[in-house]
């Protein structure tokens, strides 16, 4: 199973909008790179991004490209249609990144049956084109 879009309804696609301090994340996505905000002072990652580091209050940060390796922290299989743009069933996953401590990311799982998913399952990043403008960071079973 992968998330599938109904082209007829893609005009309703939710175009991401963002605040200034989040731009590195979304500009990264546009270049098909998954980048996370890292505090320049203490190295703490923040996702979703913040104006200041919650740990040291530092206000300088850099955008660090992720290795894309993660593990399934939680998920849901959506079986009842909520919006016609998204064909059910599909899986939404909460991925805990392996190399960026404390970072979790909501995404979709592709090429994986619902019955295969388990807590802690290793996954890896892939990009899927959704609209002309947007390819989104998604995940597949690692090594699969």
């Amino acid at each position: 199973m992968s998330i599938e879009y109904n082209p007829k309804y893609m005009k309703h696609f939710y175009d991401p909008v963002w605040e200034n301090f989040e731009s590195g994340f979304w500009q990264g996505i546009k270049q098909r790179k998954l980048k996370f905000q890292k505090c320049s002072a203490c190295g703490t990652f923040s996702h979703p991004p913040r104006v200041r580091c919650a740990k040291c209050k530092g206000d300088a940060w850099e955008w660090v490209e992720s290795s894309g390796k993660g593990r399934i922290y939680s998920w849901t299989v959506v079986r009842q249609e909520v919006h016609p743009a998204f064909r059910v069933p599909f899986e939404v996953v909460l991925v805990e990144m392996v190399n960026e401590p404390g970072v979790r990311l909501v995404s979709n799982l592709v090429d994986c049956e619902a019955s295969e998913i388990s807590f802690g399952m290793p996954v890896e990043l892939c990009f899927r084109e959704v609209t002309k403008e947007w390819a989104l960071p998604m995940f597949r079973k690692a090594g699969g």
Partner: protein, 391 residues
């Protein structure tokens, strides 16, 4: 200085709960406020404050704004008006704000209300059309992660994994709420029973939830009137004293998507619990009956843990079989049927039920109920109240 017993709820009013109210949110609010004034024995013109809330975004199209409600009621002036943000999390907060307003003399009679018509109106809860273009949704909507049911499902799956709670245990929450609704003629599910067999074999909406795990969708409004104990003496009803209030956001708080904390639990509830028990000078052992915000079945066992009725990991077992949470059990919950079975008025109907328990007029009355805990929505910044008989 303390807010304990400095204010009380003296009037409750409600419209019918229905699939199609045939009138607007403003109209429903006007009807509920009028009913609350009649219940309290107050003239409408004595209302001089309003405390309200809407959905958990900056854009709340379905809000019945205070000035529109006041205008239709002919109220000459509002000396206090305020809104509490974050959707259902605000429910008890509106009463807390009203208590602060009357206790400090900013206003004399503050009405708290919620009016909504998701069943027949244009804004349906849990539908993407209700989601505004705010930066916070960009992390979710493009992935089809587009409804409160999905967002809470993500929390629920992890919590069930960590604690070993089962679907059957969630089912008992749905069954107990339904039992209570069968005694409550106002309830949407009055006369409609539910069995465990039906619950377990209902189709999944967003795993681990079925239709029976999610709250009702209906039209209606509920209003409450808050004043001081001195003013309450001249009114018709036995007052429900506001003994404790609690607000909480905890750290790294998001609206419905607090997925990024060390543990995915509900620390905002833990904070609100600490505050509500501290201000009431009580512990969970003092609570006779609880109205626990039940937009989803799973939030009941999660709150049993965070409000301290049991330890983390024991909430599911607390609900097993339903005996501990049904009428006659150690902590009867959601005695009107809650939002799973009475009506979804964003928690306001659960506060009204808390007042009925203090008055002794519930259709599922807990004998000699002294202290009632009422909680607000979960997964958002949240609020709580303890209502009592007073001294």
């Amino acid at each position: 200085m303390s807010l304990k017993n400095k204010a009380c709820v003296v009037g409750i009013g409600s419209t019918e709960f229905t699939r199609n109210a045939g009138r607007s949110e403003i109209h429903l609010a006007v009807d509920a406020v009028t009913a609350a004034c009649v219940d309290a024995g107050l003239e409408i013109d004595q209302i001089d404050g309003m405390s309200s809330y809407g959905t958990a975004g900056i854009y709340a199209a379905e809000l019945a704004p205070d000035i529109d409600v006041a205008r239709s009621l002919g109220i000459p002036n509002l000396r206090y008006f305020g809104q509490t943000p974050w959707g259902g999390g605000a429910s008890c907060g509106t009463v807390a704000q009203a208590a602060m307003a009357v206790a400090s003399g900013v206003a004399n009679y503050v009405v708290c209300y919620r009016s909504l018509k998701p069943a027949s109106g244009t804004v349906r809860y849990g539908r993407p059309t209700a989601i505004p273009a705010e930066y916070r949704y960009s992390y979710y909507m493009p992935f089809g992660f587009a409804s409160p049911t999905m967002w809470v499902a993500m929390q629920a799956q992890r919590w069930m994994h960590e604690t070993g709670a089962t679907r059957e245990q969630l089912g008992y929450v749905a069954l107990v709420c339904r039992e209570n609704a069968l005694r409550n003629p106002r309830a949407m599910f009055y006369g409609r029973s539910l069995t465990m067999e039906e619950y377990l074999h209902s189709p999944m909406s967003s795993e681990p939830f079925t239709l029976h795990d999610t709250c009702l969708e209906n039209d209606g409004a509920v209003a409450l009137i808050v004043t001081t104990p001195e003013r309450a003496r001249d009114l018709k009803q036995k007052p429900a004293f506001i003994s404790g209030v609690g607000f909480g956001t905890s750290y790294d708080s998001h609206s419905m998507t607090s997925f990024y904390r060390d543990s995915i639990g509900l620390p905002e509830c833990t904070e609100a619990a600490r505050e509500v028990f501290r201000s009431a000078e009580m512990t969970p052992k003092d609570i006779d009956v609880a109205q626990l915000y039940d937009a989803f079945t799973v939030t009941v066992p999660m709150q049993l843990e965070t409000y301290g009725f049991c330890k983390y990991g024991e909430g599911g077992a607390f609900c097993q079989g339903g005996d501990r949470i049904r009428l006659g059990g150690e902590l009867p919950i959601n005695t009107s049927g809650g939002m799973l079975a009475e009506a979804y008025i964003h928690g306001m109907n659960m506060i009204a039920e808390g007042v009925r328990q203090v008055r002794g007029t519930s259709t599922s009355q807990v004998k000699d109920a002294q202290n009632v805990l009422v909680t607000g929505g979960l997964g958002v910044p949240t609020t709580a109240l303890i209502l009592t008989q007073g001294n």
